[in-house]
Symmetry: C2
Subunit: 249 residues, 2 copies
Amino acid sequence: MNILIVFAHPEPRSLNGALKNAAVSFLEAAGHKVIVSDLYQQKWKAQADGSDFLQYTEDQRLIVAQAAKEAYQRGLQSPDITAEQEKVLWADLIIFQFPLWWFSMPAIMKGWVDRVFTNGFGYGIGQRYGGGKLAGKKGMLLITTGGDANTFSERGIHGNIHDLLFPIHHGIMWFTGMAALPPFLVHSANHLSESAINKAIEDLKERLSTLETTATIPYYSVPNGDYDEQNLLKPHLHLPQTKLEMHVQ
Amino acid sequence: MNILIVFAHPEPRSLNGALKNAAVSFLEAAGHKVIVSDLYQQKWKAQADGSDFLQYTEDQRLIVAQAAKEAYQRGLQSPDITAEQEKVLWADLIIFQFPLWWFSMPAIMKGWVDRVFTNGFGYGIGQRYGGGKLAGKKGMLLITTGGDANTFSERGIHGNIHDLLFPIHHGIMWFTGMAALPPFLVHSANHLSESAINKAIEDLKERLSTLETTATIPYYSVPNGDYDEQNLLKPHLHLPQTKLEMHVQ
């Protein structure tokens, strides 16, 4: 597989850095091709604004989704955006790796999503939720968290991790057509002993050895006709009792 | 009340700009004091990194939460962070206003959260979920979305809006102690007629006229002793059948 790792941690000597390096080595040894977008090292511009669209001038009212679509179609995107889009098109799998900050992505990675998965490139009219422009690709989160596994369980203080990640798995990956592999989580990231870090790396390698066979999260789908013309789940389809059921088989 | 509006939209002539201006005028006329942090206009730096902490040098391994706490305690934060923290301390209510991008905040606002609500300022050991450093304050989302209300309903294609906003309401606001008012949402933001925009502004004013009396979202609470020593919801407390029940009364 061609694998793009989008990496968002400011410190190469971090646990995240160690996990990333281990992942790259393991995947390459297994015969995959790997590209890393190291967002901090690339000094990735996080905020989407008019300077992303070379046709845009300040006297115009900026409508981001429209301007982004026009820039994409006319080849007038900021070159850093185009470079990332080319990596996305090349990839069969995108791994989003980051420390969970405020139960979501660090800003620099959110800005990668905001600026790269643009209207026309990531999705289009009617092209979303399994039918997005990136359909056929897979996505996977590789996340470190500060809490232990208990705190992210169904009765945990932070709420269920699968609920917390729903906006990313469903709203970012699946929206663009990418099928989401179950996330790989390393909890208590600030308090791991050396042996616990080694175990996390071994567990990660095991997960990475089954990328092609692990089932993706089974969301409802636009191409399957699961939604009606009002964008509501069709009446014969079962709404899960809890979101958890829908998230993970 | 003292009200801080944190505003994240790159275009002053946008619907968001009109809503923000209407909110400021209405709130001031009602006797409140209002400060706006216009993140794009301030050229807010979105990514958290070592340059946020003046004691940090590149030969050190950067551990963000530790470095942030030390910088806060020693008065060595980047001045832009301190300036925003002073506004937060001044405010009784913080309104987070933004267009919903990828079912979350634009990167520039996520970066405001990442960099301002630091360890020691926003939360501390055991100080979270109603017991955070900002307890007693309220928070409210003012959001525009691209989809219509149907698409964010319980059977809607995007998923229930309250589930999508749970990481923000619970994981950002309530984590720091801020009680979350129900969000004010303007749907179909790119397709509103002038009369629909006027109606949205009138509806917003009505919501803003009841800030002091509207009930906040009733989450479980650390100061109430709702969680045990393992950070699990205590056995006698009812876990909602759906997250929706927990989110909104």
